[in-house]
């Protein structure tokens, strides 16, 4: 006797509740961001006029790309704590290689960081070391690598930087191309997860790994792919950092992307326990995560209290948007 309640029909109230829950899952992150943005504009009307959205979008771009990678890994029920370190390493490598390799540099760097991700995934899939522990380890490795290759100083782009930097300095209706890039990647990721065998297979792993294995899904290959995608997207985030700053350093812009990336994924409705990801909503997750600190500053909250406000607001938002599907156990 399992739950036969359904076969007996559900009351109209239950049905409404289920539909409302589904709608909130689809539009919650968008609604939250719009409300928050409207609130900030209401309190400080000059925010919008001074290019407020442009600032938010620009600072959201690397967060978004890192969060998209993270959400691909969260989707298979794992976590990638190393991806922000990969972003920074990628940015440093790009800054160093733009002069010798010119236009080929971004592609070489992206190929390299994708490989880094794949190595993460391969170790994870074949040794079954929990991803949390594994990527905590590789996080350290990539961080050290960043320090070593940069000589622990800021690496400036000395030549051929224009094409990359134009991503940041050109915009589409006030939205910098770096963010547009993130949106395009998000839409592609959404299509991938929804309409390809590989994408559905990854989601299946996140929902029930044994079930996926016994359905003939090649789980190991898909795990490696998910981590490789995370590496690739982290690399794209690195590109946006070079676009924005023209330089990269182990302690500079982008050195603290890990937690905002995870937060943005969760605010975007990604389940931490896997099997539930909507990359399009991660866009709003990233915007929200980028908006909160900017908003607290714009609202004139004292610098010392900004972290506190940020923390409190994030908790509230996560409570509102966290995916609580029945099979999700927060691991």
């Amino acid at each position: 006797m399992n739950t036969t309640t359904l076969s007996l029909g559900e009351s109209s109230l239950q049905k409404f509740g289920r539909k409302a829950g589904k709608a909130w899952q689809s539009f919650g992150p968008l609604v939250i961001f719009v409300l928050l943005f409207a609130m900030v504009c209401g309190y400080t009307p000059t925010f919008l006029g001074n290019g407020g959205f442009t600032i938010v979008a620009a600072s959201a771009a690397p967060i978004l790309l890192v969060a998209l990678g993270q959400s691909m890994v969260l989707n298979i029920g794992s976590i990638d704590l190393s991806n922000a370190a990969v972003t920074l390493l990628g940015a440093i490598l790009l800054a160093m290689t733009l002069q010798p390799l010119a236009g080929a540099a971004p592609f070489v760097v992206l190929a390299l960081v994708t490989l880094f991700g794949a190595v993460n995934g391969a170790i994870f899939a074949f040794t079954q070391v929990p991803s949390f522990a594994l990527t905590l380890g590789t996080f350290g490795v990539f961080q050290s690598a960043a320090l070593v290759v940069s000589g622990a100083t800021t690496v400036y782009v000395t030549a051929n930087g224009d094409s990359v930097q134009s991503l940041y300095f050109n915009n589409l209706f006030g939205v910098p191309y770096t963010f547009v890039l993130g949106v395009v990647v998000a839409v592609l990721a959404w299509l991938f997860l929804r309409f390809t065998k590989a994408g559905r297979g990854m989601t299946a792993i996140g929902k029930n790994e044994s079930g996926a294995i016994f359905s003939g899904i090649r789980t190991k290959a898909l795990k490696v792919s998910a981590f490789a995608i995370s590496g690739f997207m982290a690399g794209l985030a690195g590109v946006t950092i070079i676009a924005q700053a023209g330089c990269a350093s182990p302690t500079g812009l982008g050195s603290d992307l890990l937690l905002p990336g995870i937060t943005a994924a969760i605010v975007g409705g990604t389940s931490i326990s896997g099997g539930q990801t909507n990359p399009v909503n991660v866009i709003f997750g990233a915007l929200t995560v980028a908006l909160v600190p900017i908003a607290t500053a714009a609202l004139g909250i004292e610098a010392q209290a900004q972290s506190l406000v940020y923390g409190a607001v994030i908790i509230v938002i996560v409570a509102l948007t966290l995916s609580r599907s029945k099979n999700s156990i927060v691991k």
Partner: protein, 513 residues
């Protein structure tokens, strides 16, 4: 209800004109039922007949819309499971709900924690009292389990005893007779364990009354004094078990005669190349030197008790169990120790006994579960085409009569029998199905659903698939098989060709133990 001759004052439970409606579905219609002290009453009906709803009303999970309920002569209105428990109704759920990392005593006396004394109210653990309650409860049911054993270390049948002890521990405030509800307690047990449990149930009669829910009609007839049949929310029959046959019960339950008929069995056609050939396959501690072949269109049943190695052997064919030596050939190719994904690609299907864990992907819609492995025309290359997926799912829903008829729903929300139909569809959706490995495909299914699933198995056979079946019961194996392989302790002890041999269940049992 006319042939029950119970006087009202002896009644432990008396239901009168109970109605329960969900939305526009009537789950219980004017239901009246009386159960006397010391009676064991069987409750049967198809999935969706209203059994679960009735049990939930009895245990306080649902409140009836109208009607009255009396327990031990007192009118009751349950606001929740606690009320039901307080008035003497205990339940053993189908899915075991024990805490496997706690002791037997803790599981039994869980509710006593926190109310027994001041110290307990402050959060101190009243070990002494817990052990006392548990020991008493175990003594009443005549079990000699050690209360300090960790439940996870017990075999299933003993766990079931712990569940029963917990159920009868219900605190009857006025010393009335307790009523224990057993909701398919045998569905997860092996045959030998079932017998133990049946004996224990008979002992319960000395202490209380029992409502026994099961899909196994033979078992119901053995254990129960009276059998109540439900269909579409109503009681359609209430008979003493002496005066009714299995066939009668079956037709009462599903509203028509049983359609199952004996297969006509052809002798082995040696000219047909086997789809599965196992040669001296061995996995240490699991199975030893096993050889057999399954030809297209034939069904081989593996028979044996738990620990016989038949489950592992079945899994080896699907690539889910590694072998140490020997050979496995599928479609004429040697594939020893292949991977599941390779097996699936070669047309091997496996219906797991662990449906929720291995058989399906909860959280995916029924339609997606059907097409996740063999998408048919709902995918071109790596790209999926959801609109075609829905068409495929709709067809299967119709063919297998899956209820509710909505393939977009999360598969986890369907009842067990309907989930199993979807799991069958998932494998049958392959146009190149060569081998069908079935591990307890009828577990937890009502006779109607079982009939549907069995019909699909036979159809797959007719289309040329070779089937390996691990049946729930020997009768099921005898009914379905072309060949029977009996296993004991990992070795094949007998091989019957059903076209020439005609083994009885006793013949099989002899080779099993």
């Amino acid at each position: 209800m006319t042939d029950t001759t119970l006087s009202a004052e002896k009644a432990v439970l008396k239901l009168q004109n109970i109605n329960k409606t969900f939305g526009n579905t009537k789950a219980l219609i004017d239901l009246s039922l009386t159960i006397g002290a010391g009676e064991v009453v069987g409750l049967i009906g198809e999935n969706g007949a209203g059994k679960s709803t009735l049990l939930k009303v009895l245990t306080g999970i649902y409140q009836p819309d109208t009607g009255s309920m009396e327990v031990n002569g007192k009118k009751v209105k349950f606001r929740g499971p606690r009320d039901a428990s307080a008035s003497g109704i205990g339940v053993v759920h189908q899915e075991q709900s024990l805490f496997t990392n706690l002791t037997v005593a803790e599981n039994i006396a869980m509710n006593a924690v926190g109310t027994s004394s001041v110290a307990a109210k402050l959060g101190f653990y009243p070990w002494k009292r817990i052990n006392q309650i548990a020991t008493d409860a175990l003594r009443i049911i005549g079990s000699n389990l050690d209360p300090s054993t960790v439940v996870g270390d017990l075999p299933f049948v003993d766990r079931q005893m712990v569940e029963i002890a917990r159920a009868i521990k219900v605190e009857t405030t006025d010393g009335g007779t307790p009523l224990v509800i057993l909701d398919e307690p045998t569905s997860v047990l092996e045959r030998s364990e079932t017998e133990v449990l049946e004996r224990e149930i008979l002992k319960l009669k000395n202490y209380g009354s029992v409502i026994f829910v099961s899909h196994r009609l033979d078992e119901i007839m053995r254990v129960c004094d009276r059998i109540v049949v439900m269909r579409h929310g109503e009681i359609v029959a209430d008979r003493l078990s002496g005066g009714v046959t299995e066939a009668e019960l079956f037709s009462l339950m599903i509203g028509h005669e049983s359609r199952s008929e004996a297969r006509d069995r052809k002798p082995i056609d040696e000219s047909m190349a086997p789809v599965v050939e196992v040669k001296g396959l061995t996995a240490k501690g699991k199975y030893t030197n096993v050889s057999f072949a399954v030809r297209p269109g034939r069904l081989t049943a593996l028979v044996g008790s738990s620990g016989s190695g038949r489950e592992e052997l079945a899994r080896a064919i699907f690539g889910a169990q590694k072998s140490d030596s020997g050979e496995l050939h599928v479609n004429g190719k040697e594939v020893s120790n292949w991977r599941i994904s390779q097996a699936v690609k070669s047309g091997v299907a496996y219906v797991s006994a662990e449906r929720k864990v291995e058989g399906m992907i909860g959280g995916f819609s029924a339609a997606e579960n059907i097409t996740v492995t063999h998408p048919g025309n709902s995918a071109t290359g790596p790209i999926l085409l959801p609109f075609r997926r829905n068409k495929i799912a709709k067809d299967w829903f119709q063919k297998l009569d899956v209820r509710p008829n909505d393939h977009t729903l999360d598969l986890a929300r369907f009842s067990g029998g309907n989930q199993q139909k979807v799991v069958m569809a998932k494998w049958l959706n392959s146009p190149e199905l060569r081998v069908l490995v079935l591990d307890h495909p009828l577990r937890g299914l009502d006779p109607g659903a079982s009939e549907t699933v069995n019909a699909e198995i036979r159809k797959a056979c007719a289309k040329g698939a070779g089937v390996v079946l691990l049946a729930d019961t020997l009768e099921e194996a005898l009914d379905m098989a072309d060949e029977i392989l009996v296993m004991r302790d990992g070795e094949v002890t007998a091989h019957f060709d059903m076209s020439s041999d005609d083994p009885s269940t006793l013949d099989l049992l002899e080779k099993m133990v």
